[in-house]
């Protein structure tokens, strides 16, 4: 059921938050061993929150659609009631002394936090195979990846182990797993949601965003978590959270939707066919399709794999074994303490990215790589500015293919990085992007369509997504695990 449906059941007294929470906890106990979606389940705390939500509702207190709704949080957002591990050995036992703003906002609404979900270590990956605590499995086929890095958050929603969840997206880490798990996933505009309490990967690219079973759920969660935060200077004070998110109107008639054919052409046959049909549906709903080009988008993946690792190499410098996290037992001096703690605590993909980031920022290489990446990023911005003078939305597949088998991703890091080809340009542009289900491949694995909107215009983007959803039934399909 959708969050709004659950809210209405709660309002009518047909269920309680305690009952809902217990149902989800029972499902988690039954199915998480197969999925590995949750790293920590905080049952006692969740039930305490559920009782408080029920009391708030019974007393006529301030109630929103999220009050009493059980949600899950990606384990790279700090929260004091469970370890914040970032799926890394280096933070395996770390207990944060504060709560991330986005999570605090959900709790202020009276939402119930069921626990923390699995991810690629430090949000670096697109298959959720790089977690130090085991991979996540796709609820549509357990032999397949749910995508990443927010694989746990996506799998939990797709398997009905929570009503919604939060993930984070730096190059596609909400949208790609949403696509591979057949659910809705939103990366807001950069600056729409506070990053305070999100363990930083790439500070100019990271955004927290929601997963849900439908566009309306995602709009409700965005409404709850968005807004200015004095703790995060990049969280916009100039763009108030639009009230339309609370009562989203499906609307695509009259909108101009830019189609980037190159992204459809590079996809598998099943994805291409699903996209062609989806575009026909959008046109039938009254959208005008406009072929557009983004001439510099071909630089997006190499640009991303310079900018993101460069920023990560700086952000992850804090993990040094001194104040928190893993400390080596084999250090006679401070330098060895740093180097051995980090070498022992970080996994292989994190090490690769720190190394690349350090290299491209190092003396003699900064101009050849990092400066060039900044130039490419500026050109991508210009491409989108030109595009949005002609169209209201840009449409691409979310990824060129459906979920791949676990263990079958290439040993070549560059091949893995190409999974971000449709998504990372959105992060580089600071733009909002949403993935919505638009079909299945010949193996019955979900396919996602991506809409990209103008900065801070999530309402138009989500309205179009909702209109597509109304005209189709892909979002109503449940994974085999969700119906068990």
């Amino acid at each position: 059921m959708s969050i709004r449906d659950l809210h209405e059941q709660l309002q009518r007294g047909e269920t309680t938050s305690v009952a809902l929470t217990e149902q989800y906890l029972t499902r988690i106990a039954a199915h998480n061993p197969a999925l590995n979606a949750y790293l920590a389940v905080t049952a006692d705390h969740a039930l305490t929150q559920a009782r408080a939500a029920d009391a708030r509702r019974a007393a006529g207190g301030d109630v929103s659609p999220l009050t009493g709704i059980p949600l899950a949080i990606k384990d790279n957002m700090v929260w004091p009631h469970a370890p914040t591990t970032c799926a890394s050995k280096i933070l395996e036992h770390y207990r944060a002394p504060y709560t991330a703003t986005a999570v605090a906002k959900l709790e202020a609404h009276g939402a119930v936090i069921l626990g923390k979900t699995n991810l690629d270590e430090f949000a670096m990956g697109a298959a959720n195979e790089f977690s130090a605590f085991g991979p996540v499995h796709n609820p549509w086929n357990l032999e397949h990846s749910p995508g990443g890095s927010s694989g746990g958050s996506a799998a939990a929603v797709a398997a009905d182990l929570c009503a919604g969840s939060l993930g984070s997206d730096t190059g596609g880490s909400i949208r790609q797993p949403a696509s591979l798990c057949g659910i809705v996933g939103l990366k807001p505009t950069y600056g729409r949601v506070s990053r305070y309490g999100l363990v930083a990967f790439a500070s100019s690219l990271d955004q927290i965003g929601p997963f849900g079973t439908c566009v309306d759920d995602v709009a409700l969660m965005l409404d709850a978590i968005a807004g200015h935060d004095p703790h995060d200077s990049t969280a916009s004070a100039e763009h108030p959270v639009p009230a339309q998110l609370r009562a989203l109107t499906p609307a695509v008639r009259g909108l101009r939707v830019g189609v980037v054919r190159e992204y459809i052409d590079m996809a598998t046959l099943d994805v291409r066919n699903a996209m062609i049909e989806a575009l026909r549906v959008l046109a039938d709903q009254g959208a005008t399709l406009v072929d557009i080009t983004l001439p510099n988008a071909k630089y997006s993946v190499p640009c991303y794999y310079i900018v993101a690792p460069a920023e990560a190499s700086a952000n992850l410098a804090r993990f040094d074994g001194v104040r928190f996290g893993h400390r080596t037992r084999h250090a006679g001096n401070l330098r060895d303490l740093y180097a051995r703690s980090r070498g022992e605590g970080f996994g292989p993909e994190v090490i690769r990215r720190i190394m690349i980031g350090t290299y491209v920022l190092s003396s003699g290489y900064y101009d050849a790589y990092y400066r060039k990446a900044l130039d490419a990023r500026a050109l991508i911005h210009q491409d989108f500015a030109t595009a949005f003078a002609q169209v209201d939305l840009v449409c691409t597949p979310t990824t060129p293919y459906a979920a791949f088998k676990l263990g079958e991703t290439s040993d070549d890091p560059v091949q893995r990085y190409l999974a971000d080809v449709c998504t990372c340009l959105c992060n580089l542009g600071g733009l909002p992007g949403v993935s919505i289900p638009c079909g299945f491949d010949s193996n019955q694995l979900p396919i996602g369509l991506q809409l990209i909107g103008r900065p801070f215009d999530e309402v138009t983007m989500l309205g179009a997504a909702a209109a597509y959803e109304q005209a189709t039934d892909w979002h109503t399909k449940k994974s085999p695990l969700a119906v068990q």
Partner: protein
Amino acid sequence: MEPITTDTVRHIARLAQLELPDNAVPKLAEQLGRIVHFVEQLRDVPSVSHNVHAGPAEAPLRTDSAALNPDSAKILDNAPAREGRFFTVPQVIA
């Protein structure tokens, strides 16, 4: 493009304060070499006079007012080693 040699890997690892096992260095050199070769395509990108900023062009300032941190004890609870209110580390120069 200069190749990524094992010496390059060791140099970068020193800069990044990362100790790598010896047997990991050759493979890392090969993988980093592939990544660098891939991003080399950016050499064709023309220079741009103005770079874009992810957030606001000017950082907003807040009032400079002192306040006690109520979480000092919780922060210290995460310390791998401590003496009272201090984090302890091995001597800086061995």
